[in-house]
């Protein structure tokens, strides 16, 4: 009798260990963020054998961007800086002053992107990012003006209307064989 009571006293109460373990488990479950994948979403045009002739289009509607193997930018025939690309593209698409040499209306504007095989991917993506950002900002401005909120918070009809007014058209030509190391 006596000896059994002694043994009971010597045992540490381990009942709360489970709770501690659960607490740890839940803590890690909550704080761990499995690295999520983000990126620039692009919809490629379907493949066809014949090249689309962009030169047939009215040149005032085409915003051509060339990125060469030295990662320099040629925008509509003129040397440009990456930092100016976004505001420049926005101005071209909206054409607020109705200039003769810019897009007739946003619906007609086409961005033509061309690069060399030797162009660095990082630069290409940065250019693409800037162009996409220009369109995003324009859509935001349009949505703000017409619906009083940014594009992201618009309903699906409002979004569709915005997209129809300012369609994102980025045409990519086959790269020229220049500067590729392979």
């Amino acid at each position: 009798m006596g000896s059994s009571r002694d043994r009971m006293k010597n045992e540490i109460n381990a009942g709360s260990m489970a709770d501690i373990a659960f607490l740890l488990l839940i803590f890690f479950l909550v704080t761990t963020t499995i690295a999520e994948d983000t990126g620039v979403l692009v919809k490629l045009p379907p493949y066809s054998e014949e090249e689309v002739e962009i030169t047939k289009m009215n040149t005032r509607n085409v915003y051509s961007v060339l990125v060469n193997a030295d990662d320099q930018l040629l925008v509509r025939g003129e040397l440009a800086e990456l930092d100016d690309l976004r505001s420049n593209a926005k101005e071209f698409i909206m054409n607020p002053q109705k200039l003769e040499n810019m897009a007739i209306e946003p619906k007609k504007a086409i961005v033509s992107l061309k690069n060399d095989r030797g162009t660095k991917y990082a630069v290409y993506l940065e250019v693409y990012n800037e162009l996409k950002a220009a369109y995003r900002e324009l859509r935001d401005e349009y949505a703000e003006k017409n619906f009083g909120k940014v594009y992201e918070y618009c309903s699906s009809e409002e979004r569709a209307q915005t997209r129809a007014a300012i369609p994102l058209i980025i045409s990519e030509a086959e790269p020229t064989n220049f500067g590729d190391e392979g």
Binding site: A18, D37, P46, K120, Y128
Partner: protein, 154 residues
């Protein structure tokens, strides 16, 4: 008398819970050890560029991954330092892309085929030549939704 005083029945019908934490710890360790965060071993070096116009990739099962970059150090002897494509966990060429896509597509119910995206994890230093070839291969295979994997620009 002593025989009656023992009262075995009353003494300890409680189940010991002392081993419960051990069981939970064992589960914890088991999951910690077996969880694989990235399912393919990286054979090419990929540091994705940074961008601002990012879209989150949801529905991981609908995404297939294509890695492009130069081989990591231990494969450089064998494969050189030129940028290469990695599909799944092995090096591949352009001609392997359609089969790779088809294999992924076959695992997904037909109704969801329109939502399949290709995540291109491309190293910043890669030149556009190989990227353009990959894009053409994807277009030929009818995989038009792609995502240039990029990190958030601070």
């Amino acid at each position: 008398m002593s025989k009656f005083q023992k009262k075995r029945g009353k003494a300890s019908p409680e189940v010991s819970t002392a081993s419960l934490p051990d069981i939970i710890f064992m589960l914890l360790f088991f999951f910690m050890v077996t969880t694989v965060l990235r399912d393919s071993e990286m054979k090419v070096e990929v540091t994705t560029p940074r961008a601002t116009e990012l879209t989150k990739l949801e529905k991981k099962s609908l995404v297939n991954y294509i890695f492009i970059g130069k081989p990591v150090d231990k494969f450089q002897k064998e494969y050189g330092t030129k940028a290469r494509i990695q599909l799944g966990d092995k090096f591949a060429g352009m001609s392997d892309i359609p089969l790779f896509l088809e294999r992924h597509r076959s695992k997904i119910p037909e109704s969801q085929h329109g939502g399949i995206k290709s995540s291109l994890k491309i190293d910043s230093d890669v030149t556009m030549g190989i990227v353009a070839d990959t894009k053409t291969a994807l277009r030929k295979a009818g995989q038009l939704l792609i995502n240039y994997s990029a990190k958030k620009k601070d």
